[in-house]
Amino acid sequence: MSEGKYSSVLVIGGGISGITAAIEAAEAGYDVYLVEKNPYLGGRVAQLNKYFPKNCPPYCGLEIFFKRIKTNPRFNFFTNAEIENVSGSAGNFEVTVRINPSYVNNNCTLCNKCAEACPAERQNDFNYGMDKTKAIYLPHDLAFPMKYVIDPLTCKKMDGCSECVSACKYDAIDLNMQPETMKLNVGSIIIATGWKPYDATKIDNLGFGKYENVVTNVMFERIAANNGPTGGKIVRPDGKPVKSIAFVQCAGSRDENHLAYCSAICCLASMKQATYIREQNPDSKVYIFYIDIRAPGRYEDVYAKAKQDENIIFIKGKVAKIEEDPTKSLVVEAENAVNGEKVRQKVDMVVLATGMQPSLSEIKIPGLDVKYDEYGFVTGTDGVFGVGVASEPTEVVGANEEATAAALKAIQVLRR
C-alpha cells in the first residue's frame, strides 16, 4: 500500500495522543511502532476520574482503543520502553529502542500472590504518591497490557529477596530479565510524550507541600476516582470530610515566575471537579478564584451549568495567599477585582489548578534533531511531528484531532 523506502511510522509516547496517532495510521494501512516508557498504555488520561464536558470516564475510550489495537496486525507496541537513539532524516530514520525489563513475563495471570508475598513498598505514582503499592504491582485496573510489573528501584532482589518468585505458580517472574535493544527503520516520527504536572512546591505562596490539605488538580482527580486512594470518597488528606473547597486557578500558570503560558484545560477541569464534590455532598460550597474563565466554543455549556449552581461561587481575583488555621483548614485570600474588596475565605480544602509542563522541557530524546519553543513544546521538523501536549497545551478533543492529522502527515512523508 505504501511506496516509500521505509513503510512505517514511529510514535514516541503511548498516552491518548500517541495511541490515537498510531491506531489511526495503522487502520489507514501503515505499520506503526509505538514506544511507551510506562509499563502500560494510556498515559495521564488513565489517571483521570472523568473528562469534561460530558463527565464520562476515560476508561471507556481507552477500552475501545485497546480493542482496536487488539484486532490490528499493523499496530506494534512496546511498553517499559525508551528511545536510546535516533539518527537519519525524513523518510529514513534509524531508531534504537531499549525495552527495560519488567521482570514479569506473559505467564502472569493477575492472581496477586506475588504482591501479597512482596516485602517492599513503593509510592504509587498512579495516585500521585498518595498511597503505596508493593514493589511488584499491577499499574491500574485497566492496565494494558494486563500484567504485573516490578519497580526496580524499590525491589529488594539485590538483597537476595525472591519472595514473589516463590509465590508465583505460573513461572511468570524472571528476576534476571535483561534489557533488550532493538533497531527500527521508520519513515516518520510522531512525538507524543505528553506532560507532567507542574511542581507545585515551587509556588511558595500557595502552601503546597507545607499545608496538608492543599492538593493539586491531578491529585484531586485521584481522590474522586473510585479506584483511587480513598475509594472515591472525597475527604481531605488529613482524613476529615470536605464541606467547602476553594479552587485556585492559574496556580503557577500564566506566570512568568513559573509557566508563562496558559494550560488551556484547568478552568474546565476545575468546573468539572466542582461537580464531583457538589454531587457527593449537596450541601458543599465551592469557590472558584480565577483571572479569566476559559471555556471556549461549546465548552461554554460547562461554565453556564456551573453558574446555575448557587453553591458554586466564582470570584475574579487570583488567590495569592493561603494560611492554615489550627484545625488544618485553610484561609485563602484574594481581591475581588470587580468590587474591590478583599476576600478571606475559610475552606476545608484547597485545590491548586496547576498547569501542564511538557515532558520534553527537561529531558530530550537522544539523537533526535527537532525544534522546540522556549517552553519545551515541540515545533517539529521535516518528518517529525509533535502531537498532544508535547506540542501545545490542549484538551483531549484537540489532542486527538491533532494526532489524527499528524498520522496523515506522517503517512505523507512515507509516500514521498
Partner: protein, 735 residues
C-alpha cells in the same frame, strides 16, 4: 436496487457453499489454573461430553506455552476448527488465544465465575451453564468472508475554504484523488477576505500575513485534485467506496469513496443586536471590520464589545472561541494604521488559551489599547457612540464615547437551518420557508449529516472527535465547531486521514470505528421481511434505505456492525456470522432451568461488551461478589438485543432478563449512538409481551452502567436478583 439485493444473496449462497466443504470440529479446552480448579472439573468435562464434543482437554495453565501448543497441535492434527476455551475473560490473553481461520469462543470461568462467587452448588451450575452456552455459541459461529467489491478510493471534499483546501491537499499528498466542490465562483472562503490573521505558529506574538492564494495555486496545480467552483451537489447516492455524486443538475458526475464536509460558517445575524446599537453605521461587526481594515481604516477611537450576541441565552448560547484573538489582532492593526488612535476592549473573560496567551501579552504592551472586564449595559448615539459599562475593574461604572464600535459577533455552522431529515424538509416546505441542502444524500434517514448540538454536525465523543453518524462522511472545520484558521487546518488534515482510512478499511471488506476492520456484514433474509421499517428507522448510521413499498435495502459499506437492525427486527431476519439468531437461541436453550420447587432462579443478563462487561471484569479483579443465578451473554451493543429473545427466554422459564449497557441521554456514551436508549424504549413494547404471558414487568430491566462503576455493578445485579426472588418463580418453568 432490487437487482443489487439479489446479487448480494447470490454471492452469499456461493460463499456458504464454500464453507460447507470444511467439516466443523469442536475442541473444548478447560483451564484449571487461576482457581478455576476449585470447581468440579470432572463434572464440567461431563457436560462437554454430553454436548458431544469430540475433543475435550484440561490443562493447569492453558495460556502458557504448553497449553497453547496443545490447542495448536489439535488444530493441525485433529482438524479442530471450533475452539471453546473455558478459562479467563476474553479481554485478557487475547493475543495468546489467537488462532487464525478458526472460530474461537472464550468462556469466562475466571472473572465470571470463580473470582466473583463463593464456590458452592450454584456456582458449579453457573459454570456448567456457561460451558454449555459457550459450546453452543462456538458451534453456531461462522468464519466471516469479506465482501469483494469495486471500491473507488477518491475523496469528495465539499467546501473550498481553508478547511476544504487543506483537506484536499492533505488527501492528494497522501496519494489519493480528490474532487473539490465549492458553491462560490472562487476558492478561499472567509480566510481569503482577511488581510492579516492571528498568530499561527510559535512564538505566537505577531499578527501574520496569510497567503491563501499560494494554497489555492497549489490546489489548482495538483494533478490529483479536480476543482468544481460555482457548483452544488444535487445528489449523492450509494455508500462509502461507491458514492455516486452528481453536481449542477447532472452536468457533472463522478464517484467517491469518502466525503469530507467542510462548508464552514456564516456570521450571526447582527440585526438582532439592536440593543448594542447595531443598525447605526458606526456600529459594525468584527467581520465588517475585517473588510474595513483591508481598505485602510481611519478612526480616532474604537471600542470592541466582546461576546456580542454570544454566551447569551437570547442569542447564541456558546462561545465562538476565536473572537478574543481576532479582536486583539484588529486592535493591533487599528493602532498600526492610526498611531494616535485609542482602542477600548470590553470583555467578560479574555479567552486566549494555551500558547495564544503570548499574543495577549504582546498586544497588551500597546499603550493605546485600553482593556477592562465589563458589561456593556447600553449603547447610545450622542455625537459619537456612547457606551455605558458596568462591573468594570476600574472601581466604578463608566461611560465611554467613541467614533466606532465593533461587535465581536459569533459563528454559526453553515448547517444551521439546513433540514437534515425528510420530515424537516417537508415542514419547511409547508411553511413556505426556503432552504437549501448541501450533501443531498440519498439516504432514507435524511439528506445530511445529523446534527449534535446548536446546529453543529459534530462528534459526541471526546476520545473520537471524528466519529460520525454517517460512515465515510466526515466533518471538518467551522461547520462542526467554531474555530480559528490554525485549528481548522489541523482539523481538516485529521478529517482527510479519516476519509482515506475509511476507503482503505472498506476496500478490505471491513468497517470503520469502533469495530474497525470487522468484515462480518449483516446477512438479511429479505423473503420474510414484513416491511415494518423498524430497521430502516432505527439504524443509527442510516445504512438501510427503503423502496416505495418499504422493503429495506442494506448498504453493507455504510454498516458499522452494531446489530441494531438485528435487535429491531420482529421477524429476526438479520444475522451476522459471528452473532446470529440461531446462536442466541442456542445459548438460551443451553441454560438449565430447574423446576420451581428447587428455588434456584435463573436470570439472563445481556451485557454490553464496551462498558458493562469491562466493569464486571474489574469487579472480579477487586474480588467483589454477585449472585450466581445470573448467566451473562456479552453483546456488541444493547441495541442488538432483540425483544423476541426476551419473550423466548421468559417462555422457557427463565425468571428474569437484565440488560446492562451504557449511559444514554444528551451525554450518551454508546458508540453506536442509541443502543441502550433503544433497549430502554423497546422495554416499553415488551410490556405487551409480558402481559400476554401474564408475567410481571419487573422481570425485565435495563440498567445504565459506566465502565468505572465496578463497585456498583455487583450491587445492580444483586438488587435485580432480590427483586426476582420476591416474585413467584416463573410459571413457565418445566413446560
Amino acid at each position: 436496487m432490487a437487482e443489487e439485493a439479489e446479487k448480494m444473496e447470490v454471492k452469499e449462497e456461493e460463499v456458504k457453499e464454500e464453507e460447507e466443504k470444511v467439516e466443523p470440529k469442536l475442541g473444548v479446552y478447560i483451564c484449571t489454573g487461576c482457581d478455576i480448579d476449585k470447581l468440579d472439573i470432572e463434572k464440567l468435562v461431563t457436560v462437554a461430553e454430553e454436548e458431544k464434543a469430540p475433543v475435550i482437554k484440561t490443562h493447569p495453565a492453558l495460556c502458557g506455552k504448553e497449553g497453547v501448543e496443545l490447542i495448536k497441535s489439535d488444530i493441525a492434527n485433529e482438524g479442530v476448527n471450533q475452539i471453546a476455551i473455558a478459562a479467563c475473560s476474553p479481554r485478557v490473553k487475547w493475543d495468546i488465544f489467537d488462532f487464525g481461520g478458526c472460530c474461537v469462543d472464550r468462556i469466562n470461568l475466571r472473572e465470571g465465575v470463580v473470582w466473583t462467587h463463593d464456590i458452592d452448588e450454584h456456582t458449579q451450575e453457573l459454570a456448567e451453564d456457561l460451558l454449555r452456552m459457550g459450546i453452543g455459541k462456538v458451534q453456531k459461529m461462522e468464519v466471516p468472508v469479506a465482501l469483494e467489491e469495486e471500491i473507488d478510493k477518491s475523496i469528495l471534499v465539499v467546501g473550498g475554504g481553508i478547511s476544504g483546501i487543506t483537506a484536499a491537499l492533505a488527501v492528494a499528498n497522501a496519494g489519493y484523488d480528490v474532487n473539490l466542490v465549492e458553491k462560490a465562483d472562487s476558492l478561499g472562503g472567509w480566510a481569503a477576505k482577511f488581510s492579516k490573521v492571528t498568530p499561527q505558529s510559535s512564538p505566537f506574538r505577531e499578527v501574520e500575513d496569510f497567503n491563501i492564494q499560494e494554497k489555492i495555486d497549489e490546489v489548482n496545480a495538483n494533478p490529483r485534485i479536480s476543482v468544481y467552483t460555482s457548483s452544488k451537489i444535487d445528489k449523492i447516492e450509494g455508500q462509502p467506496g461507491q458514492f455516486n455524486v452528481s453536481l449542477n443538475d447532472g452536468a457533472v458526475e463522478f464517484k467517491a469513496g469518502a466525503i469530507v464536509l467542510a462548508t464552514g460558517w456564516k456570521p450571526y445575524d447582527a440585526s438582532k443586536l439592536e440593543e448594542l446599537g447595531y443598525g447605526n453605521p458606526n456600529v459594525i461587526t468584527n467581520l465588517q471590520m475585517e473588510e474595513v481594515l483591508s481598505n485602510g481604516f481611519k478612526a480616532d477611537s474604537v471600542a470592541f464589545i466582546q461576546c456580542a450576541g454570544q454566551r447569551d441565552e437570547n442569542h447564541l448560547p456558546y462561545c465562538s472561541s476565536i473572537c478574543c484573538m481576532v479582536t486583539l489582532k484588529q486592535a493591533k492593526l487599528i493602532r498600526q494604521q492610526n498611531p494616535d488612535s485609542k482602542v477600548y476592549i470590553f470583555y467578560d473573560h479574555m479567552r486566549t488559551p494555551g500558547l495564544f496567551e503570548e499574543f495577549y501579552r504582546a498586544v497588551q504592551d500597546d499603550e493605546g489599547i485600553f482593556l477592562t472586564k465589563g458589561n456593556v449595559k447600553k449603547v447610545d448615539i450622542n455625537g459619537g457612540v456612547v457606551l455605558e459599562v458596568e462591573d468594570t475593574l476600574l472601581g466604578e461604572n463608566i461611560n465611554v464615547k467613541v467614533d466606532k464600535v465593533v461587535l465581536a459577533t459569533g459563528m454559526i455552522s453553515s448547517m444551521e437551518g439546513v433540514p437534515t431529515t425528510k420530515e424537516e424538509q417537508a415542514e419547511l416546505a409547508e411553511k413556505g420557508i426556503e432552504f437549501e441542502n448541501i450533501l443531498n444524500l440519498d439516504y432514507r434517514q435524511g439528506p445530511e449529516l445529523p446534527l449534535l448540538k446548536y446546529g453543529f454536525p459534530d462528534s459526541n465523543f471526546i476520545c473520537f472527535p471524528y466519529e460520525t453518524r454517517r460512515t465515510g462522511i466526515y466533518a471538518a472545520g467551522c461547520v462542526r465547531q467554531p474555530m480559528g484558521i490554525k485549528a481548522s487546518m489541523d482539523d481538516a488534515t485529521g478529517a482527510a486521514l479519516k476519509a482515506v482510512q475509511c476507503v482503505e478499511l472498506i476496500s478490505e471488506g471491513g468497517t470503520t470505528f469502533p469495530r474497525s476492520g470487522d468484515i462480518d456484514f449483516p446477512d438479511v433474509f429479505l423473503q420474510r421481511c414484513t416491511q415494518c421499517k423498524r430497521c430502516t428507522e432505527e439504524c443509527p448510521f442510516g445504512a438501510i434505505n427503503e423502496d416505495e413499498k418499504g422493503t429495506p435495502f442494506y448498504n453493507p459499506m455504510r454498516c458499522r456492525r452494531c446489530g441494531t437492525c438485528f435487535g429491531a427486527c420482529p421477524e429476526r431476519i438479520v444475522s451476522f456470522k459471528g452473532y446470529s439468531v440461531d446462536m442466541v437461541s442456542t445459548m438460551l436453550k443451553a441454560v438449565s432451568v430447574p423446576g420451581p420447587e428447587e428455588e434456584k432462579p435463573r436470570i439472563i443478563a445481556f451485557v454490553c461488551e464496551n462498558d458493562a462487561y469491562p466493569a464486571l471484569d474489574m469487579s472480579a479483579m477487586h474480588k467483589l461478589k454477585y449472585s450466581p443465578f445470573v448467566r451473562i451473554i456479552p453483546v456488541r451493543c444493547l441495541g442488538s438485543v432483540n425483544t423476541v429473545f426476551i419473550a423466548d427466554t421468559l417462555s422457557k422459564g427463565i425468571d428474569g432478563v437484565l440488560m446492562l449497557g451504557c449511559k444514554y441521554g444528551d451525554d450518551y456514551q454508546c458508540h453506536f449512538v442509541r443502543g441502550s436508549e433503544l433497549a430502554n424504549e423497546r422495554m416499553g413494547k415488551v410490556q405487551e409481551t409480558l402481559d400476554r404471558l401474564m408475567l410481571e414487568s419487573d422481570r425485565v430491566q435495563v440498567k445504565e452502567v459506566a465502565i468505572t462503576e465496578y463497585d456498583k455493578v455487583p450491587e445492580i445485579i444483586n438488587e435485580f436478583v432480590e427483586t426476582i426472588k420476591e416474585l413467584e418463580p416463573n410459571p413457565y418453568k418445566g413446560f
